[in-house]
Structures are given as structure tokens and as C-alpha cells.
């Protein structure tokens, strides 16, 4: 049930009608039924993964709560009418903490174990075969849709319960809804349990026409990004990257720019649809993008791009890892030998390298994604390490680091670095192709490559480029307004009705007439 098929719209419409007709206390159950139907429409067999993850995290959550209660009871116990001493309480707490940690560890192993088994066994086996000259048969598994997303989401719940950030859910079906909530199961965002609760996943919702209208507008905005811009830009990207021919020069640059457009519009457009659908049902979801191409550094980029993944990595890997005893000791050693700055920065750099290694392999079981992750991690690590020197250089060259001009330079620099990272993404034909493509960025520049007659060889006509240009301008203006804190939907809602309707109808007509028609109609992140 793709977001652009008739079935999806009928599904939302019927679901919405039933949702607001049933007694409010059953609304969450209707969402669960819709989620199960939605998931099973792709593959009934893959539902086992949903049940598996839900069961693990549900049991883990209950166990953690029980252990916490038992610990409190044990600490309050009196022996011969004498309360326990502080030391005795400490011992008891340590014992229960070890047990609780074990529960979290087992849940992680079971959860991530399934993910690793299904997504990474083939990669591991093929590399073992290549390195050691073995001929182990590469197993193939049916990959449940959204496996990465709901596994990460489920494990975040377990860790949040452990850390006391949220209470354990005592209703298995509500837990299943949290894991399988249908708008976001295919491509995120990776939600947090307490955010979902606060966002109204299990709450009772009254019919609100304005909220439904806003949700529909958000869906329309997502469709505009996907159909008019992403699919169109993807035509050139596919034409260039699906062939072993390396064009070089302006074509390579244009390919990267088009990929930037395609990836951002596709992913953020899909997320807009997800958030819009959730809004229709009264559920508020976390934003997953915040004008990422306005970032002034790679670190900032990852706080604006796929925000939920970055936040997950930060909360559940970066902080725990950088605060371990080993990292503390490393920090002390670093301060002793390299000074205060490097002592502080070394554990942070290692933590960044670790999380971006994981981000890389999260994207796919291929070496190019590992390289992609390490590339980003290295830039962030080196930037952190050289931060004091950057400040000195700015001072030396009399550059005002807070000036608008310098910010623009930083934005352009970051955009270039991000685009270089995308080379890994587009190198589906192999690393050799990726290297040749990268080298092609520095040679074979001919102005004739910019002629429309030449550019049309890549599947896009002159008006396609014009549509992309105008579309990107619209996106840029909207992003600029959002960056300045303007709530665009609210401000449009305050405009006269005639103007509002011109805008809404205008976008509808653009989607209908200018939406690209071709084979690139699936969402890129739907296979994670």
C-alpha cells in the first residue's frame, strides 16, 4: 500500500471515519487494527517480526518495573525492627541494578540480533568468503518492512523504562500499537514512547476539522516534494549512476546536486505524509527534518537531517559510550599527555566515530555505507579536535565568525561535504565506480555538457529542469521562512479565503500536472 496508491487514500478515509465514529476509548484500538492491516498488506509473513519485537520489549518493560519495585521493597525491609543501613541498601541496589542491566542487555541482544541476522548475515558471510577464501552459502531472509525503524524504536522504549524516563506499558496491545503505528512504520521517524504518549497515541481524540485539514495539507506538501521534485530529479541520477560510463565534469556535479534534491525531497516528503496522516488521527509526531541544507557544519547537519536517528544515536550510544569508565580513563590519559582540550575531545571523537559507523551500516549492509558513516564521523571528530585552531585561524584572517557572510560560507562548505558523502549512496555499481565518479569531479569539464540538448540525453527535458528550478525555489523560500520561525500553515490559515484556496488549488494542480510519471515511484527509505 504505497503512499501514492488509491488504496492508501481510501484506507485513510475509511480509517478516519471509523476512528471518529467509535467510542473514544476504543480509538487506540482502531489505530492498532489499521496498523496491522497496513503492515499485513505488504506481507503477512513479516508480521512475525513485529510480534517478536513487541513481545521482547513488553516483557522487558514489565520485568524492569518489577525489579525496580522489588528493589524498593527490599530496601525498605526491616530486620528485627531495624532499618537497613546505607551500605546494605547500596548492596541491594547494586544487585538489582545488575539484574535490570541484564534485562536491557538481553532485550538488546534479542532485538538487534534479529536485525543483524536478517540484514547483515549475508554481508558478513560474503566478506568471510572473500577474505578467507571460503565458500559458505549466503543465506537469504525475508526482510520485514520497516525492521530497522521498529527495532530501534522498540529498544529505545526498553532503555527509557530502565532510565525511568517513562513507565512501562502494561497493555500488550498498546505496546503493539507503539511498535506498529502504521504511518511511521515504513520510514520513521523513530519515535520515543513518552513522546508518543504525550503526542496522543493512546489518548481520546475529538473530531477537529482544522486538525484534519492541516493533516491533509501536510500530506499534500509531502506529495508535492515527492512527485514533482524527488521523482523528477531521480531520473537524471538513475541515468548517470546505472551505467558504468563516467561522464565527469558538470554532469557529475549535476548528478550530486540532483541526488541531494531527490534524497531530501523523497525522504522529507515521505515524512510529511507520515506526520500529516498521524495528525489526521490526532497523533503528534516528532519532526525528522529541520532545513538540513542550512547547516553550518556536519554535526549540525545530523541534528537537522533524520533527526530521530541522530537523537537515538546520541541518547542511546553516544552518551552511554562516552560516559563509560574506559572513556573516562582515556580522557584522563589524554589530558595528561595532550592537554585539557584533547583530553576532553578524544572520547567524544571516538564516540562519534562509533555512532557514525553504526549510522553507516544502519543504511545498508555494504562497505560503501560503512565508508559513508566513517566519513561523516571523521569530519565531526576532526572538527571537534581542531575547534580551537579554527577559532585562531578565523581571528588570524580577520573573519567575523558570527557574520552572515561567514555563515553562508559555512553553509556552502557543509553542503559540499554532504554531497561528497552522497557519492557513497549513489555508488550502487561498486566502490571502483564511486572512486571513478569522485575523480570525475575534477576533470572533463566542458561547457557543452550544460547545453540543454546534451542534458536531455539523461531523460529530462528543458521544462523538467525549469520545474526543478522553480520547485527548489519554493522549497528554499519555505525553508527560509521556517528557519526564521514562521509557522507557514498557520500564517496561510490567517490569509483571506480566496488566497488560501489559490495556494491549495495551485499545489494540487502542480501535483496532478507536474508530478513526474515514471518508474521511480517508491520511497527510498521504505526498505529500511
Amino acid at each position: 500500500m504505497s503512499f501514492i496508491n488509491v488504496s492508501f487514500f481510501l484506507f485513510i478515509l475509511l480509517g478516519m471515519i471509523i476512528y471518529y465514529l467509535v467510542p473514544k476509548k476504543f480509538q487506540w484500538f482502531i489505530l492498532l487494527v489499521l496498523s496491522v492491516i497496513y503492515y499485513c498488506s505488504f506481507s503477512f509473513k513479516c508480521a512475525y517480526a513485529l510480534i517478536y519485537i513487541t513481545t521482547i520489549i513488553f516483557v522487558a518493560g514489565l520485568l524492569l518495573t518489577k525489579l525496580d519495585k522489588d528493589c524498593k521493597i527490599a530496601c525498605k525491609k526491616e530486620v528485627d525492627s531495624v532499618k537497613l543501613s546505607r551500605e546494605e541498601k547500596k548492596v541491594i541496589k547494586a544487585k538489582y541494578t545488575r539484574k535490570r542491566k541484564a534485562v536491557v542487555a538481553i532485550a538488546c541482544v534479542l532485538g538487534f540480533g534479529l536485525l543483524a541476522l536478517i540484514k547483515y548475515t549475508g554481508f558478513t558471510v560474503s566478506n568471510l568468503n572473500a577474505v578467507f577464501g571460503l565458500s559458505i552459502k549466503t543465506p537469504s531472509f525475508l526482510v520485514p518492512i520497516g525492521l530497522s525503524f521498529f527495532t530501534f524504536q522498540g529498544i529505545s522504549y526498553v532503555i527509557d523504562v530502565y532510565q525511568g524516563k517513562c513507565d512501562a506499558c502494561t497493555n500488550y496491545l498498546k505496546m503493539l500499537l507503539f511498535v506498529s503505528f502504521f504511518p511511521q512504520i515504513m520510514q520513521g521517524p523513530i519515535g520515543r514512547y513518552n513522546h508518543f504518549v504525550e503526542g496522543g497515541l493512546f489518548a481520546e481524540h475529538k473530531w477537529d476539522l482544522r486538525r484534519v485539514q492541516f493533516g491533509a495539507q501536510r500530506i499534500g506538501w509531502g506529495l508535492f516534494k515527492k512527485l514533482v521534485l524527488a521523482d523528477r530529479a531521480g531520473v537524471l541520477v538513475t541515468a548517470v549512476t546505472n551505467t558504468s560510463t563516467i561522464y565527469g565534469g558538470y554532469i557529475n556535479v549535476l548528478t550530486l546536486l540532483m541526488y541531494s534534491i531527490q534524497l531530501y525531497m523523497d525522504f522529507s516528503g515521505g515524512i510529511d505524509i507520515v506526520i500529516g496522516v498521524a495528525e489526521i488521527f490526532g497523533v503528534t509526531m516528532d519532526e525528522n527534518f529541520r532545513q538540513p541544507y542550512f547547516s553550518k557544519s556536519i554535526g549540525e547537519f545530523w541534528r537537522r537531517w533524520h533527526i530521530s536517528l541522530g537523537a537515538w544515536m546520541k541518547d542511546y550510544i553516544f552518551y552511554p559510550f562516552s560516559l563509560t569508565k574506559a572513556m573516562n580513563n582515556l580522557g584522563k590519559w589524554g589530558r595528561k599527555h595532550f592537554g585539557k582540550h584533547f583530553g576532553t575531545v578524544i572520547p567524544i571523537c571516538l564516540a562519534n566515530l562509533l555512532i557514525f559507523f553504526i549510522v553507516g551500516i544502519w543504511h545498508g549492509a555494504e562497505w560503501r555505507y560503512v565508508i559513508y558513516g566513517i566519513y561523516n564521523g571523521l569530519i565531526i571528530a576532526v572538527s571537534a579536535a581542531l575547534k580551537p585552531y579554527f577559532k585562531k585561524w578565523l581571528k588570524f584572517f580577520h573573519i567575523n565568525g558570527e557574520s552572515k557572510g561567514w555563515h553562508i560560507v559555512q553553509i556552502i562548505r557543509t553542503f559540499i561535504l554532504v554531497n561528497i558523502g552522497w557519492i557513497c549512496d549513489i555508488s550502487a555499481l561498486g566502490m571502483r565506480w564511486g572512486i571513478d565518479f569522485t575523480l570525475g569531479l575534477f576533470k572533463n569539464y566542458h561547457l557543452s555538457q550544460l547545453r540543454l540538448s546534451y542534458l536531455s540525453c539523461f531523460g529530462l527535458a528543458a521544462y523538467d529542469y525549469a520545474i526543478l528550478l522553480v520547485g527548489c525555489l519554493i522549497i528554499f523560500i519555505v525553508s527560509l521562512l521556517k528557519e526564521r520561525g514562521v509557522n507557514i500553515r498557520e500564517s496561510i490559515a490567517l490569509k483571506p479565503i480566496a488566497l488560501r484556496w489559490v495556494i491549495y488549488y495551485g499545489f494540487f494542480v502542480m501535483i496532478l500536472i507536474l508530478g513526474y510519471i515514471g518508474t521511480t515511484s517508491g520511497f527510498m527509505y521504505a526498505n529500511f
Binding site: 488509491v6 488504496s7 515511484s521
Partner: protein, 385 residues
């Protein structure tokens, strides 16, 4: 107490006024929403009117709905009366069928009223929905299904955007359109479902042409004689048949790529829709006969026609459906050579089509008179089956 009661009484009208105002605002909001949706429908209709380049599919569907066809001058034949129940025989298939089977030849032998609804690119799925559409406004008694192996073997995709090119032209008043939506909702792009987006042309020239076309008499009368039809290859002879003219530039490259990787199995999608066609025919007392019009002789070996013949014969035998493969027709029964075709793929020229149609009509007549099919096949294939 007395004072507060009085003050409550004074507040009541104010409260009621506020309540009424709120409910008016709510009703106004819903009214706006309804008007907005109506506006959307109008905009879609306007976009279809301006951008959709309607062509042969629309025209032949109009003839099908009418149950009759106007002549070249736009006049309705005197034979058409209020008692006429439209066409009783339809021919379904793709481009091969449109240039190969002349309905007039069928009618002159069988006394039927045949319409050739073969459309270039028509898949087995399309044939099913066209059959439903035909049966809606005509009392169909016979269905001749022209079987082009390209739509049965190899990879038959569903859900690609252009697939809905025939569905797009069905009327919103037709139940078949809604049935298509429901049957294909998991594959149908929403843009295709609500508009004729597949045939939109945006250039100013096209827009002018589209609008002018819609106001032309030929369009309004569905007078295909006067309408420009792409890739027809020759003059329109009526009832869906185009008399392809022989050409000096024989297209030897126009070959289906799947032909070289031929399968021994009919694709699941084609099988599914053929079953639906057969079931519909059985339920509605429609005689179903499947034929394969002959293709260019020099292509036989390249396309493994012998093997394809076995696959398709076995396929139709499994369903107990009469199937005549005229590729196997002996050259004594139906002489043909490459110059009788415009391309290697097998689009027949008019001259051969007339002879082939006569042979087909004769065989259909024999079947109607309960002649054994194996005898007919023996005669057609020249004793080699």
C-alpha cells in the same frame, strides 16, 4: 438569590447567542470544506478538458457505448433502430488484432454485428474490463479474443503508470470504472484514478488542439473516419478496423524484446485475467473463441513460434477454450509473405487482413454449425498440428 436568578436570566440570551454563533461558524467551516472539494472536482475536470489528448481509445469506447457507429459522413445508418441491441460480437486484443480482423467480413458470413475493440497496447487485463464495458450497453453473444503472445508470456507487469490508459477513458457513470478502481486500488496511482493524467499534453499547441478537438463534430459523433488516429497505418474501414497500407520501409527492428527469452508458462497476471474473461463469458452465455492472427513469416523461427504455439494451445486446452493459431495455417489455406506485413513483429497489411478475416469468418461459421474443432484445425494447419 433573587438577584442572581435575574442576572442568570439576563445572561441566558447572551449565552444562547454565543452558542448559535459557534454552531454557525462550525457549519460554515464544513460548508467551506465541501465547497473546496467540489472546487477540486471542477479543477480536475477542467485539467482533463484542457490537457488530456483524447484519442482512439475514447473514440472506440464511444462507439461501444452507443452500440452503433456513424458512417464517414457522420450519418447514422437506417438499419439502426430503437430495437437494435447494439453489437453482438466483439473482438478484443491488441494492435495485431486491429489490423488483422475486419468485422465486416465476419458479419457478412455470420450475420452478426461485430465491433473490433482491439487497441494497441491492450493487455489481457484491459480486455477483461473492456468486455465488462461492452456487455454493459450491448447484448454480447460472441467474443473473439485475438491472442498476442507478447501479452501472455514473459514478464507481465501490473501497476506501472501507463497501464491505466484504457481505464482512464472509461466514463465516471460506468460501474466498470469503479470496479477497476476497487480491483486495482493497490496498484493504481491516485493521479490516474481521479484524472486522465496519463494522456496529458502540456504544450500550448497541444492545449489548443485538445480544446478544438473537443468541440469538433467528429469528436462529438465519435466519427472515427474523420479523426486522426496515431499509428493506424491506413484508412479507417469502420467498426474498429484499419486497412493498413503496404509500406516501402519494412521495420525489421520492431520486435518485442521478450520474444527472445521465451517462456514455457503463461504469466500469472495474464492467466488471472483470462480466467476472469472465461468466467464472465460462461456466466453470461457468451461464446468465447481465441485466435492468434498470423505474424510475419520470417519471424517464426526467431520468435520460436512453434514452441509458443504449444504453450498457448496447452493453455487454452486446459480451460476447454477453442483456440486457432493462424501462424500454423498452411500456406495453401492462407498464403502470406513478409510484404503482407509492415514490420517483423507482425502488423498485417489490409490486403492480407481481408483474406485472413474471410478465412476466420468461415471457420467461425463452421464452429457455429458444430463442426468438430479438430477437423477445422486439421484443415487450417494442413494436417500438421
Amino acid at each position: 438569590m433573587k438577584v442572581s436568578n435575574e442576572s442568570n436570566k439576563l445572561d441566558e440570551p447572551k449565552i444562547n447567542k454565543k452558542r448559535n454563533k459557534k454552531s454557525h461558524i462550525k457549519e460554515y467551516a464544513y460548508l467551506k470544506s465541501v465547497l473546496f472539494i467540489v472546487g477540486l472536482i471542477i479543477i480536475i475536470a477542467a485539467c482533463d478538458f484542457v490537457f488530456a489528448k483524447e484519442g482512439y481509445v475514447y473514440d472506440i469506447l464511444q462507439v461501444l457505448h452507443q452500440g452503433y457507429e456513424v458512417d464517414a459522413d457522420g450519418n447514422i445508418s437506417e438499419d439502426i433502430s430503437s430495437e437494435t441491441s447494439g453489437f453482438d460480437t466483439i473482438i478484443l486484443g491488441a494492435s495485431h488484432g486491429r489490423s488483422a480482423i475486419d468485422p465486416d467480413k465476419i458479419d457478412s458470413v455470420l450475420g452478426t454485428n461485430t465491433l473490433n475493440v482491439c487497441i494497441p497496447g491492450e493487455t489481457v487485463k484491459d480486455s477483461y474490463y473492456l468486455l465488462l464495458e461492452a456487455a454493459k450497453s450491448n447484448q454480447i453473444k460472441n467474443l473473439i479474443l485475438d491472442v498476442d503472445y507478447q501479452y501472455y508470456l514473459g514478464n507481465q507487469d501490473e501497476g506501472y503508470f501507463e497501464e491505466a490508459f484504457i481505464y482512464n477513458q472509461l466514463s465516471w457513470t460506468s460501474y466498470v470504472k469503479y470496479k477497476y478502481i476497487i480491483d486495482n486500488m493497490n496498484k493504481l496511482d491516485f493521479r490516474n484514478a481521479i484524472s486522465k493524467r496519463d494522456v496529458y499534453r502540456h504544450s500550448l499547441c497541444d492545449i489548443k488542439g485538445n480544446i478544438a478537438h473537443r468541440f469538433s463534430k467528429a469528436y462529438l459523433d465519435a466519427n472515427i473516419y474523420k479523426l486522426a488516429v496515431e499509428d493506424c497505418g491506413g484508412p479507417y474501414e469502420g467498426k474498429g478496423f484499419f486497412y493498413r497500407l503496404q509500406t516501402d520501409c519494412f521495420d525489421s527492428n520492431f520486435m518485442d524484446s521478450d520474444a527472445f527469452s521465451y517462456d514455457t508458462k503463461v504469466s500469472d497476471v495474464s492467466r488471472k485475467y483470462f480466467e476472469k474473461i472465461k468466467d464472465f463469458c460462461d456466466e453470461n452465455g457468451i461464446n468465447l473463441i481465441c485466435v492468434t492472427s498470423p505474424i510475419t513469416p520470417s519471424s517464426y523461427d526467431i520468435l520460436h513460434i512453434d514452441e509458443i504455439h504449444v504453450t498457448m494451445s496447452d493453455f487454452f486446452n486446459d480451460y476447454g477454450v477453442t483456440y486457432i493459431d493462424y501462424n500454423k495455417a498452411s500456406f495453401d489455406v492462407l498464403y502470406r509473405c513478409d510484404s503482407d506485413f509492415v514490420d517483423a513483429e507482425g502488423h498485417m497489411c489490409g490486403e492480407l487482413a481481408v483474406r485472413y478475416s474471410a478465412l476466420l469468418a468461415n471457420n467461425l461459421s463452421e464452429l457455429k454449425n458444430n463442426k468438430d474443432i479438430s477437423l477445422i484445425l486439421n484443415e487450417v494447419y494442413g494436417g500438421v498440428n
